[in-house]
Amino acid sequence: MGMTLAQKVLAQTSGKPTVLPGEIVDAYPDLVMSHLASWRSIRQLEQVGVDRLYDLNRIAVVLDHRSPARTPEDAGHHQLIREFVKRHGIPVYYDVHEGIAHLVLMERGHVLPGMLILGTDSHSTIYGALGAFGTGVGFTEVTSVWLTGCVWMKVPESVRVVITGRFPPAVFGKDLMLALIGQLTANGCTYKSVEFTGDLVANLSISERMTFCNLAMELGAKCAFVPADAVTEAYLAGRAKRPYELLRPDPDAPYARQVTVDASALTPMVSCPHQVDNAKPITAVQGTRIHQAFLGSCANAKYEDLEVAAGILKGRRVHPDVRLIVTPGSREIYLQAMRSGALQTLVEAGAMLTNPGCGACAGDGGSLGDGEVCLSTANRNFLGRMGSRTSQIYLSSPATLAASAIKGVIADPREFLA
């Protein structure tokens, strides 16, 4: 029997010709990403008194949470990490001004099809946008892999999501994912590998594929993939740090489940407080008053996302009772949006443009007071995630966010993107 992408990557990285779902393997990850949590691993290394790392070339450190430092503790952790990186000569390191770790590592060509990547961030599933097996781990796991190079893993079963049709106007990858999460629920794919396929996926941009694989985490997925293809190759041209193969699933690979989605039938979606799977069509929540709109996060602060929002906000003003915070996902995105004029448009509309990074999604600003409502393009809306326990977070696409920022209430973007 053939293998799914998850099986292939785990077979490859554990030195086996084949592996089966449910099997436990000792895999050697190609890359271990850690952000601010790196300081905890560094302290653990000090505790165990070992300082020789398995393979420096498999380590990536990116400071994206708490950038810049707002407390002396943060500043001290950043400094500890910088000294560690320097002392060991870790080659893949990006400091606080570069952006969100996931996006930076993909933009700079460190993420390639077929790689196994661990990250100290639950949305590490995003690396599947380039055909890599990405998954989140805790910092103790990172410490262990830094030292031994190895991690044990149970080979996940796979779920195939076949997407047909085309997106109607004002409907985007985010809407599809919120609808899917609403349908399958937050534990619909627990410890599964989610493979996206179908006509729509074949032509989908890497930016939208990132949104797919990022949000797959909210289905409980272990990892997610859009199988690498010509679109992937085009994205990686000039970026890839080394040669790679376009790993594809076998035609007879085993899937535990197949789900079919007709994109043509979708409408803009909004996830309502306090669970991502509490997803509703825009028509059910439009008119809800918002105080803040946050365009940011690894889910939807990519260049295409800023362009979509700028397209709607061009020549319009943010509603006076709404604070629009725009946090580009990375420096590359910031510069690209600057050259295209999108940043100018957003600022003229009244947005507060922040430095690239995780921003309000990771608590670096944009905190909410009692009873305040935030519409966000991020990937989580849990109770109290952005401040007061009586505040509320709704999640949407950048288009819905822009329309709502103008109206001051959750609004249907189709009015602006007919």
Partner: protein, 404 residues
């Protein structure tokens, strides 16, 4: 009236930032009970400290401020991302020659550079007198005249001269006096550069700083407000407590070293001191002229890998203009990180915390121990040029080598 007289003056503009409004608003409602604000249209509120609150506490403060403004019908609230409180007030036309401007921010005297009488007063005074009655009481200060003569040497800016004066004259030199700046240096400077002198008069303990407004100031103000104003001139027989002359030609770039603003040295005396953070921002550092100066030094160069360079424009308009001029692109290419228009790392309310042993050089106004996090961190204050040069070198550096 004469120096020493106590007067009650009509206040034209009251400036609040988010922290001062929060405290003043509470006092006004809880202790000055039953009063209404006499002139809501004279109150300018700018959220520049908690510009994007990272904590729930910060969010609550801003929320309380928004509700206070709504309850009292205060029409001029500039929310997060608009800018630094002083430059937002200037940008939106609230400062005019001859105006009386108060605020509880100690650097309120900056507006004296536009021909206003401007000074910082306590939150309680504002709550008890200015808000309900539209007035403030003052003892008329005696005035000292400082004549600044000559031209600035290469790599030297108004910041360096203003800082030099603080170091030379001392932190308590002008206790409750007004300083009037004059001399042939001033007409050679653009209006925003002149503002550095009254801004930093507070570092000599002055009550206010003042520059007699000229046509350049009038033109600057007219670009920002349609309201009429009079260019108040000094009487020919005005009496000064003393007149002192300084030749500025010999002034070098200056650095205020820890632990106080008066501990000022020429850059050559502190060059080589390692730094981890550099910031261009705040009332004296995020103006368009500063961003241009910064870009001039950074163009085609890279910030030292051990340094985080943070850039904080003073207003959204300045950021937009800098975008248009390609300055933001130059700064990004050099490795700078650009933040929303605000007070930036001032007091590390929202950013800019330092841990023990770290050092920052910035264009901000204060370097007291513990101002930005750990009391064992060190803060150096300097001109935009010096901050830029230091960011490139990773150490405090003389900017003149980059300004051939």
């Amino acid at each position: 009236m004469a120096p020493g007289d106590v007067v009650v003056a009509e206040v034209d503009t009251v400036i609040f930032h988010d922290l001062s409004l929060y405290l003043t608003g509470r006092t006004f409602e809880q202790e000055v009970k039953g009063q209404r604000i006499l002139h809501p249209e004279r109150v300018v509120i700018v959220f520049d400290h908690f510009f994007a609150p990272a904590t729930e506490e910060g969010a609550r403060i801003l929320q309380a401020n928004r509700e206070f403004a709504r309850r009292h019908g205060l029409p001029h609230l500039f929310d997060s991302g608009t800018g630094n409180c002083h430059y937002t007030a200037i940008q939106h036309g609230f400062i005019r020659p001859g105006a009386v401007v108060v605020g509880s921010d100690s650097h309120t005297p900056v507006h004296g550079g536009l021909g206003a009488f401007a000074t910082g007063i306590g939150n309680n005074s504002i709550a008890a007198l200015t808000l309900p009655y539209g007035t403030a009481w003052f003892r008329v200060p005696p005035t000292i005249k400082l004549l600044l003569q000559g031209s600035l040497a290469r790599g030297v800016t108004a910041r360096d001269v203003a800082q030099y004066l603080v170091g030379r004259l001392g932190e308590d030199w002008a206790g409750y006096k007004a300083i009037e700046y004059a001399g042939d240096l001033l007409p050679r400077l653009d209006v925003e550069e002149r503002l550095l002198f009254p801004l930093m008069c507070i570092d000599m303990d002055a009550k206010a700083g003042y520059i007699e407004p000229d046509e350049a100031v009038a033109a600057y103000i007219r670009q920002r407000t349609a309201q009429s104003f009079e260019l108040v001139r000094n009487d020919p027989d005005a009496v000064y407590e003393s007149v002192q002359t300084f030749d500025v030609e010999e002034v070098e770039p200056q650095v205020a070293c820890p632990p106080t603003v008066g501990h000022v040295k020429p850059v050559t005396a502190v060059a080589g001191e390692p730094i981890q953070y550099a910031e261009v921002g705040g009332t004296p550092g995020g103006r368009l002229g500063d961003l241009r100066r910064l870009a001039r030094v950074l163009d085609g160069r890279r910030v030292h890998p051990d340094v985080r360079l943070q850039v904080v424009p003073v207003t959204r308009e300045v950021f937009r203009q800098a975008l248009d001029e390609g300055i933001i692109a130059v700064l990004h290419d050099a490795g700078a990180n650009i933040f929303p228009a605000s007070s930036g790392s001032n007091q590390s309310t929202n950013m800019g915390a330092l841990t023990a042993g770290q050092a920052m050089i910035s264009t901000h106004t204060r370097n007291f121990p513990g101002r930005n996090g750990s009391p064992e961190a060190r803060i150096f204050l300097a001109s935009t040029y010096t901050v830029a040069a230091s960011a490139l070198k990773g150490r405090i550096a003389d900017p003149r080598e980059f300004l051939e």
